[in-house]
């Protein structure tokens, strides 16, 4: 059955391999050129968008036709009347597609580890662009192990949609917004709290080095002694009016700090420090792997109930 799984999925696997190989060539070339001369940095800014989309496209391209592709010429009727139970048949196909998806995304991440480093060094000598601080979403989303998690999520999403809709094209098309929504929801609402964030407080509001090298979540003036706003208030809540009357006349950092102390407030920056990188990577990968398992369960049920 291993050969069958490989042979039936060969077109998608080769296409995915080709796409990743082309990207790898491009990344290697831009990485080498940028490393050689940081002036080439601007070439690479546009690529980053593609890098965020790639795990989704790769996973969906392998997943959407896995079951739905059989419906086109009704080959599931051939496959399911051979001497192999259809759940076993499905298991082999899922294993083949899943391993390819995971393998390709792992290879791509390995390359991106190097590439983001080169490009962020270039960025530090230029202004703006890709910062390369690994805990910040721009680099976090394309390095470490989360890429494999995203790809498996997209793969499972593609198979489940395909098994339910039974049309590979529609499964792929519908998978893109669902994948994007899933990624954004987790990144904006869940990732910041996956590991308890750190706080840095100062009277002047000048961030520490740890904050610069971390992922800033929230910042604002809060009452002295607190590391977060008073319950019921937001980070944007105004300090006492006396603080502004004071700072209007302040002419130095020290004076600003004095004003804050008088008003019993201080600046707090809530952030995920660089040291939380692997904890966050592990937790987020686990989330997407968990969703992938649920979606694969949907695929199995849909295939078992498929009456053609």
């Amino acid at each position: 059955m291993t050969w069958v799984a490989w042979r039936v999925q060969r077109p998608q696997i080769l296409a995915a391999l080709g796409a990743v190989a082309m990207l790898a060539v491009w990344l290697t070339a831009t990485g080498l050129v940028t490393g050689h001369s940081p002036a080439w940095k601007y070439w690479t800014d546009g690529d980053v968008g593609l890098l965020y989309a790639l795990p989704g496209l790769l996973g969906l391209a392998l997943g959407a036709p896995l079951v739905a592709g059989e419906a086109g010429h009704r080959t599931q009727r051939l496959a399911w009347t051979q001497s192999i139970p259809r759940t076993r048949w499905l298991a082999f196909k899922l294993l083949m597609g899943g391993l390819v998806a995971a393998g390709l995304s792992a290879a791509l991440t390995a390359l991106l580890e190097w590439w983001t480093k080169v490009v962020s060094i270039a960025a530090s000598t230029n202004s703006g662009g890709f910062s390369g601080v690994r805990i910040q979403p721009a680099a976090f989303d394309v390095t470490g192990i989360v890429v494999v998690g995203y790809t498996l999520f997209a793969f499972a999403l593609g198979t489940a949609l395909g098994a339910v809709i039974r049309r590979p094209g529609w499964a792929f098309a519908l998978g893109i917004p669902v994948f994007a929504a899933g990624r954004l929801l987790v990144e904006d609402w869940w990732r910041p709290h996956l590991v308890g964030p750190a706080s840095y407080a100062s009277l002047t509001g000048i961030p520490s080095k740890a904050v610069w090298n971390g992922w800033l979540l929230n910042s604002g003036l809060v009452p002295a002694g607190r590391t977060s706003p008073v319950p019921g208030q937001t980070w944007q809540a105004s300090p006492p009016a006396s603080y502004y009357t004071c700072t209007n006349h302040a002419r130095s950092m020290a004076a600003d700090a004095h004003c804050a102390a008088l008003a019993h407030v201080h600046y707090v920056m809530q952030f995920q420090p660089a040291s939380h990188y692997w904890a966050l990577q592990g937790a987020e990968t686990a989330i997407f792997a968990g969703i992938a398992v649920l979606l694969l369960g949907v695929t199995v049920i849909a295939v078992r109930k498929w009456s053609s």
């Binding site: 010429h73 051939l78 009347t81 139970p85």
Partner: protein
């Protein structure tokens, strides 16, 4: 595997798509070792029945057992015993013929590769050819080869002769007969070419209007029906009850197909002589009909027998006498 009493047995089997029943109240028993012909017009539910027996379609009602196993059994053992040829002849179009055979070899423990290769060789189908480049007839032959090389105990063939030329039809019938003799296989094949069936089948199931109209041994079916030819003006020599399968008047002649077993009221069918019906009226001639004529009669039977069904087939309508 112990030999079951029936290769296929269904009881009240039905399949509904939305509100419409594609097959309803289907009950019959196919003894092992037979070549059974499933006849009926397009849309009678032949393919639906075969798909359910092959395990790729789930029945909406009723029960069935295939080679002694209940419906929906999905194990390597049960699947290996059933060979199914779909009406669409699904094959992987990007595969080469040799890859299609490897597919069969990898997935079937009883696969007979020599037989498959020899069969395709005889048909001059190269193993290097792409499936998608083959003609419709050649694809049908590859699909059929896949089905036969599996060496199943039960062959479920949906319109196996549809895309074949007359010579290939003849060859296929020969192969089917041989696999029944050699392997003790049971064959259930659907067709609307009744002439093909009469030469090879020894069992017949007539399906019409989503229901089984008749199922039985070919010999018994032939022996228990009579064709009556008489003047259009004359009163029918039999009571107009269920005994009359069909009655057609053309010009001055009436042709009736009747069930012999029901001609004499109050006596069981087995007690009645199939030949020499007690028809006293000399105006009527009694002839033994061909399978073709019987099948046609049952297909015509439908309108009078099943009263008005407004738009859809109502569930639980009076069943037609089967068997």
């Amino acid at each position: 595997m112990s030999t079951p009493a029936a290769a296929v047995e269904t009881l009240g089997l039905g399949k509904r798509y939305g509100h419409a029943w594609a097959l309803q109240d289907c009950s019959f028993r196919l003894p092992p070792g037979r070549i059974a012909g499933l006849v009926g017009p397009n849309g009678a539910g032949k393919s639906t029945l075969l798909r359910m027996l092959a395990g790729i379609s789930t029945p909406s009602a009723g029960e069935m057992s295939v080679l002694g196993w209940p419906a929906g059994t999905q194990s390597t053992e049960t699947l290996a015993c059933i060979g199914y040829l779909d009406q669409d002849r699904p094959l992987y179009r990007g595969f080469r013929v040799s890859e299609m055979l490897r597919f069969g070899r990898e997935l079937n423990p009883r696969w007979d590769d020599t037989r498959a290769r020899r069969h395709l060789d005889d048909l001059a189908i190269s193993p290097r050819s792409r499936i998608g480049r083959l003609s419709g007839g050649q694809q049908a032959q590859v699909a059929l080869t896949m089905c036969l090389a599996k060496r199943p105990e039960l062959l479920l063939l949906d319109e196996p002769v549809a895309a074949l030329d007359p010579l290939a039809r003849d060859d296929l019938m020969h192969i089917l007969l041989q696999s029944v003799v050699d392997d003790g296989a049971t064959v259930l094949l659907s067709s609307h070419a009744v002439a093909d069936l009469a030469t090879v089948c020894d069992y017949v199931i007539i399906l019409s209007a989503s229901r089984v109209q008749l199922a039985g041994d070919l010999d018994h079916v032939l022996a228990s029906h009579r064709m009556l030819l008489g003047p259009a003006a004359a009163a029918p020599p039999v009571p107009a009850d269920g005994a009359v399968v069909s009655s057609v008047t053309t010009g001055r002649q009436t042709t009736m197909i009747v069930r012999a077993g029901q001609l004499i009221a109050g006596q069981p069918a087995s007690a009645q002589p199939p030949a020499g019906l007690p028809i006293a009226d000399p105006a009527w001639e009694v002839v033994e009909p061909t399978l073709d004529e019987i099948v046609l009669a049952y297909l015509r039977h439908r309108p009078q027998d099943l009263p008005q069904r407004p738009g859809r087939w109502a569930r639980g309508a009076a069943p037609v006498e089967a068997r």
